[in-house]
Symmetry: C2
Subunit: 184 residues, 2 copies
DNA sequence: CCGCAGACTAGACACTGTCTAGTATCTAGT
DNA sequence: ACTAGATACTAGACAGTGTCTAGTCTGCGG
């Protein structure tokens, strides 16, 4: 698939090296061929971002499911999976959270929303048992999302190392849980 | 100055619209002229990022200084200033925390470090008076940095609105302070 | 069997970053 | 005062890019 190849280039050589013409050359088709699939270069990027949101959602859901009977561990696993995704696909994550001049496309927006819904689901599992000190799970999830996204940004922009990022996740999750002994 | 004009284009039309040749045209010089100042397009972007770190540091320092005798309010003011900077200069913040394939230049790295030092200074003011529940101010500052960066990313990528971002800052700062009544 | 939509080709256009050789100007250093 | 060198610039070239257009081929539903 064209998108698979584009994703690989994005991962290996960054967004600046991602060229429609080069993708066409690699695929052995003419330079205009990709236009049948993506009207624009930005349409290609949107499709990549959309897939990124889906994949990231899958990965954190799976990570959380690996710890079914411990909220704290499930939360840590999900957050850790998020940062590991960021390290594996730094340029893709940049693309997903890029500050574009015009509003994101409908497809990207809804994919991002589904990721957030996945995170909310993970948080809710603990909320029912009173693991957090507030009833507003949505707002708390937003804060968690911002925190893991920020940690990921610090790691991918090489401001901190991956182990430091993992330590920050630990600190953050601990703060999310009610009581000083929770999850420790 | 060339950088001022570049910053304006970045702010108004995004990074994709930032072209060396167009800058040269606007300045009324030949298309090769900018090369005397910046060897590369990426050198221009690095210079912009560096200036961004300096300006952001100035703004949060000033915000914190406006509340000299209340840690909680100073912290909130600084975090709020960070997010306001992000809203005002979304493309610039993207540039500052972009996940590039090769390591950031020395100048950018040290500018980022100075920003972090500024944040540490703001946090330390409260730490001396036991406002936080841990002695490791550096690690706590890192977590704060990640949190405000993450909130900014959510706002600039239009996942949440600015008021939601402000609310998240409130939630985050409250969690950073020791005791349930702290700063509220 | 027809018509048509979708994937593709091939050429053109305007634009970009980058490299080069050459020029003017200004600034030490002797 | 003269020279050497650095600095800012011009002008031309090159390869590469995204995008648009007109035309071709092919498979499929009516």
């Amino acid at each position: 698939m064209l998108l698979d190849r584009a994703e690989a280039v994005l991962r290996e050589r960054g967004i600046d090296a991602l060229s429609l013409r080069e993708l066409a050359r690699e695929a052995g088709v003419s330079h205009g061929a990709p236009r049948s699939h993506f009207i624009d270069r930005s349409a290609l990027l949107d499709a990549l971002a959309e897939r990124g949101f889906v994949r990231l959602g899958d990965e954190i859901r799976e990570a959380a499911a690996s710890e079914p009977d411990d909220y704290a561990r499930a939360l840590r696993a999900a957050a850790s999976a998020y940062v590991r995704f960021a390290v594996r696909e730094p340029a893709l994550l940049d693309l997903m959270f890029a500050a574009k001049v015009d509003a994101p496309s409908e497809a990207v927006r809804s994919a991002a929303e589904r990721l957030f819904a996945t995170m909310t689901g993970i948080m809710s599992a603990g909320a029912g048992a009173g693991a957090y000190d507030t009833g507003d799970v949505g707002r708390l999830t937003l804060l968690l999302a911002a925190t893991v996204q920020g940690i990921s940004a610090l790691v991918t922009s090489r401001r901190i190392t991956m182990p430091q990022g993992e330590a920050l996740i630990d600190d953050a999750i601990t703060r999310f849980l009610v009581g000083p002994s929770a999850g420790r």
